[in-house]
Symmetry: C2
Subunit: 338 residues, 2 copies
């Protein structure tokens, strides 16, 4: 039977939430991944060392997995002092910047993306070597939000050439093209943006489980993202943006944005890379690229997959929490070996 | 108190469904409109004289309103004989063409939009003076489906210069521009496409009640539609495409496409035209244009509106059927006078 081994998978963009949802979803990443970059958009967001260390502790408790490192991030504020950042820098892997109100729990994000408004914190980050992760969307028309953000990425990349910048969950051909224009620009791409377009969200029936921010774009965008991922573009990392919301909130009128992919990511990526005869590049896409970009040395964790049907569970549950994964109830062609 | 009178309003694109849903929604149009063009996409679709006359009877029974004319349509098939069409022409106002599978109950629509494939029926329609209504979407990317259909409109308009063609529920600037290129092209536009863009459907939270086909497009498209409606472009008619689906189907995972606007259309249009200082054009947009295009002489029905707050009901119900209107629970600034 055909098999494939993924070595020390890293998910460089992950939402673990808190409390029961954390307990539900954290093991679904830590059982197969070697590490993950954990987003700080809790309520309230993580802006202090105390909150950070306490969250790290709760994650550790929820994963109960030695071969997994949770890399934490701080929620960007434009008035962090150099001293504060210097003190916290060894406890975080990056700082995540959200324009205010742009996605789940981002109300306290940055009001103006003007470089001068961001300068105090960015100068310290640049000096201290702390990478900057950005949710790069304007508040414009939903299909244009990421494309409209490109000049902002450029202005920050130019103003802070020594700052490592990660364009998070990119969804457009424009972002792929920008990647090669500035040495200090990198990116993550999700699993779902390699697979879906707006057609899958709203082209047939409306599908709330595929509704996410940034919204899935055009076929040409998907093609550009997929091409870059399949060849393991060295500045592109896997970041699932796996974002659990309870079933009742996803299926309600006015559903929240987010696709939950953690428990199926390795299987689907293997299937996708195999279909395109690019399996040789998968370990770079899912681990080596991130290791280089973030200077990580993850614990060795070999995950073997075999080409055998796997039916995705309809739902994952813990206490009163639950979450519906992408491809719920559908059949994948690769399985994890227990 | 400011008031305005709408004279013999016509809704030139309306879905009344059947059975209890028909009984629920038909009066919500017939109580304020003088006439409506009723779409034939029942299950099965209306393709025989018997089905047509029987549906007409059921509509009459459901409306119980003398001052309302239900103008029926036939579901397009490319093999209708001249004799059949000649026999039925006085019972219908138009024939509605659906590309197969493009929207609700359209599975038995036309498989190929090639002019030659449509020629037999279109030649008879042209000779008999029966207008052709078209749901103009390809099966391409959801944001491009209408724009991609423009060459098909052009090919039919050119091949049958004497055939009156109505581009139904147009949603794009492209369609507005095409309107002026061919004498025999006309169009309807809905209420909701004058008011919303994709941002309202999927820009914030996902809003199933604003999910429709064709999907709402870009701000520039909405501006072009609104501009043409406000000036009462003589080739543009009001057609609500009011399409009731029960609440549980709209709010379920995988919701059906359609916005229900019949009971609020007059109030919202009055509000919209007043806001833009175009009230003088409203009777042309909502009645006179359609009278000229379809050679109609509707019964006189004066509906008086006053500038007084009206809170839209959360839901309309009849027996086991219900439907949530656009702007449910929200306040409009114009009310009907009882």
């Amino acid at each position: 039977m055909q098999s494939f081994v993924i070595n020390s998978a890293l998910d460089m963009h992950l939402h673990l939430r808190d409390e029961d949802m954390l307990k539900l979803v954290a093991p679904l990443t830590s059982n197969t991944f070697s590490g993950a970059l954990i987003m700080p958009n809790l309520v309230p967001p993580i802006t202090t060392k105390e909150a950070l260390l306490s969250y790290k502790e709760r994650i550790k408790e929820a994963t109960k997995e030695d071969l997994f490192d949770a890399h934490l991030t701080l929620f960007f504020q434009n008035n962090y002092s150099y001293e504060f950042l210097n003190d916290i820098k060894n406890d975080i892997i990056a700082i995540k910047l959200y324009p205010a109100g742009i996605t789940t729990n981002s109300d306290t994000g940055v009001a103006s993306m003007d470089v001068e408004n961001l300068r105090p914190t960015l100068e310290s980050m640049s000096k201290l070597g702390i990478p900057l992760c950005i949710h790069g969307e304007t508040n414009g028309f939903v299909m244009d939000r990421e494309a409209e953000f490109m000049p902002i990425y450029e202005s920050i990349a130019k103003a802070f050439p020594d700052l490592k910048i990660i364009m998070e969950h990119i969804t457009t051909k424009d972002a792929i093209e920008l990647l090669d224009k500035y040495d200090n620009l990198h990116a993550t791409v999700t699993l779902h943006h390699l697979l879906i377009t707006l057609d899958d969200v709203a082209g047939g029936m409306l599908n709330p489980h595929l509704f996410c921010k940034p919204i899935a774009k055009r076929p040409r965008d998907k093609r550009a993202l997929l091409k870059a991922a399949l060849k393991a573009h060295p500045k592109l990392m896997f970041g699932s943006d796996s974002a659990p919301h309870p079933k009742h909130k996803k299926e309600a009128c006015g559903c929240a944005a987010g696709v939950f992919t953690s428990p199926i990511a390795l299987q689907v990526l293997t299937q996708l890379f195999e279909e395109h005869n690019c399996l040789d590049n998968l370990n770079s896409f899912i681990s080596l690229n991130a290791q280089k970009i973030y200077n990580l040395s993850p614990k060795t964790k070999m995950i073997k997959l075999i080409k055998k049907d796997f039916v995705v569970p309809e739902i994952y549950e813990y206490n009163n929490e639950n979450v519906v994964p992408m491809y719920a109830g559908e059949k994948l062609s690769w399985s994890l070996v227990d």
